[in-house]
Symmetry: D2
Amino acid sequence: MTTDTSGDKSIFERRESQVRSYCRSFDAVFDRATGATLFDSEGNSYTDFLSGCSSLNYGHNDPDMKAALIAHITDDGIAHALDMYTSPKAGFLETFERLVLAPRGMNHKVMMTGPTGANAVEAAIKLARKVTGRTNVISFTNGFHGMTLGALSLTGNSGKRGGAGVAMSGVTHLPYEGSLGEDVDTLAMIEAMLDNGSSGIDAPAAFVLELVQGEGGLNAASREWVEGIARLATKHGAKLIVDDIQAGIGRTGSFFSFDDMDIEPDMIPMAKSLSGFGLPFALTLVKPELDVWTPAEHNGTFRGNTHAFVTARVALEKFWSDDAFKDAIAAKATVLTEGLQSIADMIPGARLKGRGMMQGVDVGNGDLAGAICAEAFERGLVIETSGAEDEVVKVLAPLTTPMDQFKDGLNTLADAARSCVATKIAAE
Amino acid sequence: MTTDTSGDKSIFERRESQVRSYCRSFDAVFDRATGATLFDSEGNSYTDFLSGCSSLNYGHNDPDMKAALIAHITDDGIAHALDMYTSPKAGFLETFERLVLAPRGMNHKVMMTGPTGANAVEAAIKLARKVTGRTNVISFTNGFHGMTLGALSLTGNSGKRGGAGVAMSGVTHLPYEGSLGEDVDTLAMIEAMLDNGSSGIDAPAAFVLELVQGEGGLNAASREWVEGIARLATKHGAKLIVDDIQAGIGRTGSFFSFDDMDIEPDMIPMAKSLSGFGLPFALTLVKPELDVWTPAEHNGTFRGNTHAFVTARVALEKFWSDDAFKDAIAAKATVLTEGLQSIADMIPGARLKGRGMMQGVDVGNGDLAGAICAEAFERGLVIETSGAEDEVVKVLAPLTTPMDQFKDGLNTLADAARSCVATKIAAE
Amino acid sequence: MTTDTSGDKSIFERRESQVRSYCRSFDAVFDRATGATLFDSEGNSYTDFLSGCSSLNYGHNDPDMKAALIAHITDDGIAHALDMYTSPKAGFLETFERLVLAPRGMNHKVMMTGPTGANAVEAAIKLARKVTGRTNVISFTNGFHGMTLGALSLTGNSGKRGGAGVAMSGVTHLPYEGSLGEDVDTLAMIEAMLDNGSSGIDAPAAFVLELVQGEGGLNAASREWVEGIARLATKHGAKLIVDDIQAGIGRTGSFFSFDDMDIEPDMIPMAKSLSGFGLPFALTLVKPELDVWTPAEHNGTFRGNTHAFVTARVALEKFWSDDAFKDAIAAKATVLTEGLQSIADMIPGARLKGRGMMQGVDVGNGDLAGAICAEAFERGLVIETSGAEDEVVKVLAPLTTPMDQFKDGLNTLADAARSCVATKIAAE
Amino acid sequence: MTTDTSGDKSIFERRESQVRSYCRSFDAVFDRATGATLFDSEGNSYTDFLSGCSSLNYGHNDPDMKAALIAHITDDGIAHALDMYTSPKAGFLETFERLVLAPRGMNHKVMMTGPTGANAVEAAIKLARKVTGRTNVISFTNGFHGMTLGALSLTGNSGKRGGAGVAMSGVTHLPYEGSLGEDVDTLAMIEAMLDNGSSGIDAPAAFVLELVQGEGGLNAASREWVEGIARLATKHGAKLIVDDIQAGIGRTGSFFSFDDMDIEPDMIPMAKSLSGFGLPFALTLVKPELDVWTPAEHNGTFRGNTHAFVTARVALEKFWSDDAFKDAIAAKATVLTEGLQSIADMIPGARLKGRGMMQGVDVGNGDLAGAICAEAFERGLVIETSGAEDEVVKVLAPLTTPMDQFKDGLNTLADAARSCVATKIAAE
């Protein structure tokens, strides 16, 4: 399907809005992809350590999903049906129930939202406000939840918030674990503020949090802190919303990022790797007692992407029918930690961030992190930064990356880091 | 890809949120579809007069788009690439420039937003606020622009607005043409209010309007009114945003709903039928002088759906390379008007609404309109209501529906209406 | 008590904020005043056609109020007691009940608010929101209700609104009678908008209106329009709040501005001339079924000014024990109408505004109106403009002004107008 | 001026709103007052340890102010003049400049606001937003700044906030010193949050704080903390607004509550004891470079109470011409500390709060504090509680209370406390 314009970027400069961003880091026109490898229109190949920001946890064009999707299209399977009942939706829901919800004893209902994470988050906070009759939602330092107005109001980043151009009310931003320094007990602080009826913080409808902050610098909350927040939510009659859009679907090592914690989130927005194939698809899990929506109270043309139902079902069956995939992630995560540690060792003050296959190294400033990623791209590795100051080199490789390719990628990254450090030392 | 659960709806009742809605009108599990025909899992066929609320203007599984998409997937074409440069994006942009923008002398830039109409609208009002430094956005009675918080704030429907659970500020709702009665000059009224510095209406950043209100009852604004609003926007330093999500892409007879009017919208959110195939895809056209975004100032994981680039390009080439499609729509629209008029003639006070292939008949109340649509579904026609009170029977057939099938569908609708009217008379 | 600085304005220039305003129109340092006459520190006298913007309806230093206040202070009567029970408060309440509420069959409760009109308005909308559980308050074009954030959100003037520096949500501004031109039926328009559930106007907690808009250009709503708004309030479950701060206490001819209309306002904020002596004092009348406040739910240090209780009681007894004062106002209002008509006759297009002793002449633009007021001041008359463009020469003389002085004042105003018109013609 | 209803409270029950509050604590109808003594209509006398919540710092009916005010009224001195220039205003401003501003090297301009503290605060935050072009204002746990919507948005108390019935946006509430426990460094925490661009806290227009929180429980910030906040304000381009409404005018020992600290507040709202006589009067001091208002950009009918100008001038001359008054306050504050300590010693866990003549004792819970105040009133002492849970017995005696009467009052308070503690022990 490629046209004869391969490699010619003038059309983008001529017609695509200045708001485009990732293309500025990766100077290529990508054409094909398979597994953990991208190919550009000039035939160059790249290892993908970005994975569509965790939207391609199973890699590109997984052969089983690909076959199922082609079969579906070939057979004139429904492509779009609003939220009418369809066979692919039934298939997805049954598989999701069987492999995800039932084994965990979760009785959540599945709300098909518009196909973006932002929409899944908007639905969750809207429902929390409806159910509690309260307005205030608590979100956290360095959190990122999307760019539509409701989701943006939850977001910490002042630059992104500033784009709203309108007051964003109804949200209190409180400090995430570690954001005030390692020795500050933010949980105790939050509890003290909520317990004080004169703190100026209105009774919360919900807490919204990521367990590992993907955009915010790969801050991973401890089990104690997360369970503490869950306890506070219960104590104050607020709903617990775990945004598992980036950290979920295996990224941190298990299907949900909280599988190893003793919490029961009231609502769980999911998106990104949910389709398994990179297709737009999102949903919000909702405890049944909260499922008090009237029909269409939150709706959207593209809620429930039918193509995505097909691939998502295959993804669940292929990867989550037993523990093999989870074990493989764990093994790879260990390799990742070692690889990143070797980089951290090159840079005074650098430290590892994140957990599972959602790790990175904080190199202290955005200039160095950016230089390392740019250098890595020169060497054929697609990788990006994260954090308030873009100070973290973030590895989001497909979870299915073959081990050899994964190690090669980490070596490439280490080489890039070494080169940048050498350059930096030379410049000093 | 269908499972053995065909026809079994218990999984939806067990696991899908109560917020589901269209499935409540159409008691079937849909499985396959082609052209204007839907098939359910029990083998029944239906004519589609809903078209995914205008997301399937070219019908289901158009063979050329289908072939192109299968080829793309088979070839391991990129499925997801964030907003990096890709061959399919280049192909789409070049085709869109060549067949849509250039012939109209439009120098707009294309902003790839999240793949929903709501997101395209959110981006537009955000940009209007940034460019003007103003907060207030003017939207209109019966307007519908989406369900995320920013888009919802523009929406007229009080039930939908009420779901927000939080104050939605920064929007002034003014009366759409005809909404205060046919003899009230809403344009003069709006001008008087804006000209009066003590009206309490803050200087507007933008006017956001649909030229035919898809959800609001198929109200079609006159050329004079639309051009008047455009003039007021200029007069008051506001940006003109034409939401062409439902009315665009041929639905009203031309590619844009405003092709026959003398206006130059500053921004145009598009979605629904943009992909051609029913895939989630949206964008906002932005005049170049307004394209002042910084990179990623508005972003989103699924902005620029690559599969949709493939099908959208084929759709543009197949249907918009010459005037044949436009002429065919016009012919079909005449048939539609005649068919609806025959229904209106059965019902005292009924009147036609809309224009082009976006027409319906206001039967005076939601009960009768609902009954007609339910009766039509019994007879194999998928069709829905519209309007503040659901009082409009709305025809949104694929623009590609074969003429015979289209006429048959209209006859079915007329039969359903006749039956309901008879029942109603008998009951009185 | 005057100091030796009489006539020296340097202290104001040196130390008073630039926000000061009336002093810019009247270049004098005022020192003493009695009845309708002001004296400056150089011994010049002026007739007062401004009356503290209707805060001095009984003129300056009324001898009976003065005597009562001096006696109270001399006797060490309480000056400040928060909202504890005091003898002067009892005296005021009993008199207010006997002379104002009981004769009208009004069972309203008296809420002592902070001593400004803005505070009385803030209390009213807060209570309306609490009672109805709704947020939206409807106010009107050209309305003015005060400068604190809640009151300001109701105000029409864009300049004043712009000062807030923060989004003012929860208010819908609709057109006042006549504001869209004389032949536009704003009442029908408002009804149509409220009846349409998709107009985007949220269900209202209250309507807030002035019956004659003091700052907005002396627009006097007709009996039919006001009763229509009252009917709409009932129809839509909203509370009717009549802001009688400037138009009440005899200014329009009767104690309340609505005494001759068939409405029963749910809440009535009062201030300005309430104390009778120009002292800060405000209250809000509240129907007993709405008096659901908890103690101190709305409070304020200076609620219930004790000195004002003393003078207000005397004012009620002196002026409202029988119809004599009302009859005298009526007689004077006739003279006022005649005097203003003679001015209007000088100026093409000029027209009379207002009613009772709250009348003015719209001379078409602010420049001419300002010139006339400035010229009048040169001739010893203190008078100001009103309206969105300051286009109305507004007469707010003390209601007690002796007839001769009143006629002299009107003659002075006519002379000033004649002079300005002559100058204007000469310049053309 | 008392009527024959003395002692009859039926009029209040019949006609005054349920929102009345202080009268519920003090079951008497007050009639006269002088110095620190109140007399009710039945001839009983009370010592006033409430002072109109610090509005009567010089006691009731100070003979010199009284004489000046009677002379002013007798002489037909202006009572109300909007914000025109008057002799009393000149006299006040000159005296305020000479005795307050000049000796401190303060070049602030005086903005005459509406006569309530809430209005002075509204003016300050409005101006801060205008000057900085930012929206967000930072206020603190347990802070209280008034009940109009803008002031209320700054207030910590959830009950009071809840009364608004509308979203209050544009304010971030951060923890006051000590509010998270004695060992938590709130200043470091606030600095960390503001320094982190992804904390979700928008760049602040201003910090608004009380140095001793009058309603919030007499929390007195340390010099280090206050200077730290001032430093943060400068660092982040925010204005420093010290609300000296309750803590100022000698209450903490010096004219301003910050006289002994090394800060230069940008704006200082003042009210309560400013008139000296308990009359409604407020102003906001504004650094000249911030005095960018346009005329009437913030206005109000009662801005600049002329009677209050008269008494305020006398108060300044009498009490602030030399250090005698300040020294007397210091002596009395020592006695107060000793007296309160004796009470604290009776109650396990009790601790002293506040400083200067603004001290109290936190007895651990509101029930006990309320019982002590009620018992004290039975013994002829008017005194109230403070704090989020009303847990602090608060002494706000007139600063001019004769030492003997002051000690007697403290003894009465101690007796009341002793009695309540005994009763409590007996009940256990």
